[in-house]
């Protein structure tokens, strides 16, 4: 069979993507240049595609240069080697990628890295104080709040958020406000026990 190659993609171009992206504040100054480059050639230099970004991740200031389309999750996992934060769906549907941004729980797969300029990010790797585990990490181990462990970092980050938000006052309350974090191994009752214990222990989370 003869394979034809078509030189203009009919569906989507990098140019239209970049044009849409101009709404992003972080891109505001760079975008005309980027759009121009995209008009000339799809294979543009990586230099022009990347934008500077400053984040504080687990207490460390990071000066980065990232493509605007990189999610916070992929930045952590693929570029910074912080693979404790997990990808379970990439669509904000499972909670595996939960991290704290300025102390609040978010799905890092739904947040472009560049949207977090200047913010403080805490991941599972930043939770323990040296050898001293966070009480939620200890409680998850004690109550066996996992089996395979893949959703666990997200569950733990979300559980802390759940207590901080004041939504851990009863088992029923916890079940409702933790329902964005899926555990396919089905450790839910153990996770609820772990959160109840930390909440009732009264430690600062």
């Amino acid at each position: 069979m003869h394979m034809e190659e078509q030189h203009h993609c009919p569906r989507e171009s990098r140019r239209s993507f970049l044009k849409q992206s101009t709404a992003l504040a972080a891109l505001a100054t760079a975008s005309p240049l980027l759009v121009k480059a995209a008009e000339n050639e799809e294979k543009i230099n990586a230099y022009f595609e990347k934008v500077p970004l400053q984040l504080e991740i687990n207490g460390q200031l990071q000066n980065l240069s990232v493509e605007p389309r990189v999610t916070l999750l992929d930045l952590l996992r693929e570029q910074l080697g912080l693979t404790g934060t997990k990808k379970g769906c990439d669509h904000g549907q499972c909670g595996c990628c939960t991290v704290h941004v300025d102390g609040k729980r978010i799905n890092s797969c739904l947040s472009l890295a560049v949207m977090n300029q200047g913010k403080k990010i805490t991941t599972i790797e930043g939770l323990a104080n040296g050898e001293q585990l966070h009480p939620m990490q200890e409680a998850f181990m004690k109550h066996d709040g996992f089996q395979c462990g893949y959703c666990t970092p997200g569950q733990i980050m979300s559980a802390i958020g759940c207590i901080r938000e004041g939504h851990a006052n009863s088992a029923e309350d916890i079940r409702e406000y933790m329902s964005g974090n899926i555990c396919r191994c089905g450790a839910y009752p153990n996770i609820v026990d772990a959160i109840m214990e930390v909440k009732q222990g009264g430690q600062k989370v």
């Binding site: 069979m1 394979m3 034809e4 190659e5 078509q6 030189h7 993609c9 009919p10 569906r11 990098r14 993507f17 799809e42 294979k43 990586a46 595609e49 389309r69 992929d74 080697g81 693979t83 404790g84 934060t85 997990k86 990808k87 379970g88 769906c89 990439d90 669509h91 549907q93 499972c94 595996c96 991941t123 599972i124 790797e125 585990l133 990490q137 998850f140 181990m141 066996d144 996992f146 089996q147 395979c148 462990g149 893949y150 666990t152 970092p153 916890i174 079940r175 329902s179 974090n181 899926i182 555990c183 396919r184 191994c185 089905g186 450790a187 839910y188 009752p189 153990n190 996770i191 609820v192």
Partner: protein, 742 residues
């Protein structure tokens, strides 16, 4: 006597999972998390039709996109040697590869089939470029509708039909019923998406990081596919983020990563996205069952006829034992079953937690419950009346069977005496109340395995075997066995797995890891003790004239039987013998008494639930799962397996259904928003009770296996409780509120 603790089960001890710390700190490295120099990213382009021929692929836009290194598809894909028809001149038993042959030709056999791999320097660039590939097809009309074709299934040779005594005898019974049961496609959906990273060293040496339940299985398959020596294929599966059966075999993406890495001479990482998890790594097949069942007025079963059809793909036969449970679970003189498979233009299904019995028990345990109401006999009583003391077909005894004990434990814990005998007659807080129960069963056994043990001067024991742990806690259980055998603290024992450089271990599946690997670990420990005794005789004066049988091993110490003062700890023995460590490998063989015994694990699940009388919303209130799983090696992790099985069963019963638009043969809910797995809010308190009596016939570990029976039987327990609450019999899963109103 404490009724909840009939068998003196000790309270759960503080026995944390040995890999727990790695999992709660984010240090556990799963497949896609290994950083390698020069790593590039592969992203699939998948078919958007279910049947047809690829006419044209427009690749220019993708090739020109930033960062793209290559696009591999059927016209430029290097040939995979293993895809050729098997050469039977050398080996008459050589089999053709039956799985989907990735990038092999231009045929499309299912929707979501991988048809090209875009490789780029970053993940984002690969995703974007893959979105630029446009494909033209010559479309053909696919057949994906099971319901429309369910009577066109084909019998499999030698395994389709079964008859004990009289066919369709149930029709002649005093009390009888015949009903049909339907289970939709369910998708495993482990939280970690399947991924493979392939690295070649030259043309003959391959390392693969893979999400798999069996590193040795992957090694063997890749060696066959790419004509390599097994020792030159290293497979690493250190942490596996769930699988439930999806990791029992290698899928097209594993081959694709290996092909790309060889072609490009650099490491390639290929991670499926969630949508691809529905179309590439198997699922529980769609099934239809019809059961005719009849009993005497006293409740003694007279006949069962159990038929089933489940789907497969058009390129591969996949079968599971759906009807087998009716052949042996109860004592019934007349049984006939038949089972057919129906090829459809969908990818091949595979084993999903409790494969066969999970579907079969939904039919049989629903039918038995329905029969109990017709007979006006309590459903537990009906099962006890028909308890099989020996296997009804072979007349062989079970290795162990404590099913009656399970009934006793569970009925107390759930409060069975509160169950209304008339459906729909009990209300609490304005909600209809229902109680239900059902039995689960799965084959038990033990395979062959090899383990290595390294005893060191610092008093530690390192155990190794090339197995995976997808979550149940294999390492934890093996540490428990090793520490008990060697009289060591748990924290002195380590179990390493997930690497084909370790001695050969089994694929994790069918609830066989504890018995199979555990037996090898026990053999290693026995051999270590024997070697220590010989070492003492050779090197220590006080033992010089003794024979090994004159020396006992007690909590790390070797003690002479005749003179208790002649004692030495193995750490001192190793030092005084100038041995830094003692190393042994041992292979244990499989369960060899199949001609004398039948081996099964059993479970009984009890459910209490509420149904809203107007809206039909079901609220689970309490689940009690009781297991006859032999000796419980690690109570904490065993309990978690049971809880997890109950949660999986909730999904099967109430939420999970992979839905297809048959106009296109394409799934319409291949994501976590539309494919509903149970979440926190769906799950009530779950109590787990173990009979905890050892089965020393299957293996010296005493275990029988838990993983499957944790789920098998949960779904019918729930739908039986729904009937008890509402008087509505659900024979089509999942049960949803619309089935309960009006």
């Amino acid at each position: 006597m404490d009724k909840n603790n009939l068998y003196n089960i000790p309270p759960f001890a503080d026995d944390d999972r040995v890999d727990g710390l790695a999992k709660v700190t984010g240090k556990a490295k799963f497949t896609a998390e290994h950083q390698l120099p020069g790593l590039v990213y592969g992203v699939f382009v998948c078919s958007t039709i279910a049947k047809g021929v690829i006419k044209n692929m427009y690749l220019a836009a993708a090739k020109n996109a930033a960062g793209v290194i290559d696009i591999i598809y059927y016209l430029n894909c290097p040939a995979v040697p293993g895809y050729k028809p098997a050469d039977r001149t050398k080996n008459p038993n050589a089999r053709d590869y039956t799985g989907h042959k990735v990038f092999f030709n231009n045929l499309v056999l299912s929707n979501g089939q991988p048809i090209a791999l875009v490789v780029a320097d970053t993940f984002e660039r690969a995703v974007h470029a893959a979105s630029l590939v446009r494909v033209e097809y010559d479309k053909e009309v696919p057949e994906t509708d099971f319901e429309k074709n369910k009577f066109n299934g084909k019998l499999l040779k030698n395994r389709g039909e079964f008859l004990r005594n009289e066919k369709d005898a149930w029709k002649n019974a005093a009390v009888k019923l015949e009903q049909e049961y339907t289970i939709p496609i369910e998708t495993h959906n482990p939280m970690e998406m399947h991924a493979t990273t392939a690295v070649w060293e030259g043309d003959n040496k391959l390392t693969v990081y893979d999400k798999s339940q069996g590193p040795k299985g992957v090694q063997g398959e890749l060696a066959r596919m790419f004509e390599l020596e097994e020792k030159n294929v290293k497979v690493i599966t250190e942490f596996v983020g769930g699988a439930f059966g999806s990791g029992l075999r290698s899928w097209p993406h594993v081959h694709a990563a290996v092909i790309a890495a060889r072609k490009l001479k650099r490491p390639v990482k290929l991670t499926l996205n969630r949508e691809q998890m529905f179309t590439m790594v198997g699922y529980r097949p769609y099934s239809w069952q019809k059961i005719g069942i009849g009993a005497s007025k006293e409740g003694k079963l007279y006949g069962i006829t159990h038929q089933a059809v489940s789907n497969t793909s058009v390129y591969e036969d996949f079968a599971e034992g759906i009807v087998n449970v009716s052949q042996f679970l109860y004592d019934c003189p007349n049984v006939n079953t038949d089972y057919k498979i129906l090829p459809l233009h969908i990818n091949t299904p595979t084993w999903m937690r409790g494969p066969g019995p999970a579907s079969g028990c939904f039919g049989l345990e629903s039918a038995l419950d329905e029969l109990s109401y017709q007979l006006n006999i309590d459903p537990i009583e009906l099962r006890i009346i028909n308890n099989a003391e020996v296997h009804p077909q072979s007349k062989l005894p079970w290795t162990t069977k404590y099913l009656k004990e399970c009934y006793a434990l569970g009925r107390e814990k759930i409060g069975w005496s509160n169950r209304p005998s008339v459906p729909g007659s009990l209300k609490e807080d304005g909600m209809l109340v229902g109680y239900g129960m059902a039995v689960g069963v799965f084959g038990a056994g033990r395979g062959g395995a090899t383990a290595k043990g390294i005893l060191k001067q610092d008093g530690s024991l390192l155990l190794q075997s090339a197995v995976s742990d997808m979550g149940p806690g294999t390492s934890t259980a093996m540490v428990k066995i090793g520490s008990e055998q060697m009289g060591l603290d748990d924290n002195k024992v380590r179990f390493e797995l997930g690497d084909t450089d370790f001695p050969s271990g089994p694929t994790q599946g069918g609830s066989g890891s504890a018995t199979t690997v555990g037996t090898a670990v026990m053999a290693v420990c026995d051999a270590l003790k024997q070697s220590l005794k010989e070492m003492a005789i050779e090197n220590i004066a006080a033992f010089k004239n003794l024979k090994p049988e004159d020396i006992s091993y007690e909590n790390g110490k070797l003690v002479a039987a005749t003179d208790a003062s002649a004692a030495i700890h193995f750490t001192d023995l190793l030092k005084q013998s100038s041995k830094p460590e003692l190393q042994v490998s041992k292979t244990s063989t499989g369960f060899a008494q199949r001609d004398k015994y039948v081996a099964n694990s059993f479970s009984v699940h009890f459910v209490k639930l509420h149904v809203h009388p107007v809206t039909g919303v079901i609220k689970l209130k309490h689940i009690v799962s009781v297991a006859d799983a032999g000796k419980i090696i690690s109570e904490k992790t065993a309990r978690s397996q049971m809880v997890g099985g109950a949660v999986g069963g909730i999904g099967m019963a109430m939420t999970e259904e992979t839905l297809m638009d048959h106009r296109y043969g394409r799934y319409i809910n291949s994501n976590f928003v539309d494919y509903h797995v149970p979440v926190h809010a769906d799950v009530p308190p779950v109590d787990v009770l173990f009979v905890n009596k050892p089965d020393n016939i299957i293996s010296p570990t005493g275990a029988k296996g838990i993983g499957e029976i944790a789920l098998v039987g949960v779904a019918p327990a729930i739908t039986n409780a729904v009937y008890n609450a509402t008087g509505k019999r659900i024979r089509q899963l999942p049960v949803t509120p619309d089935q309960l109103i009006g």
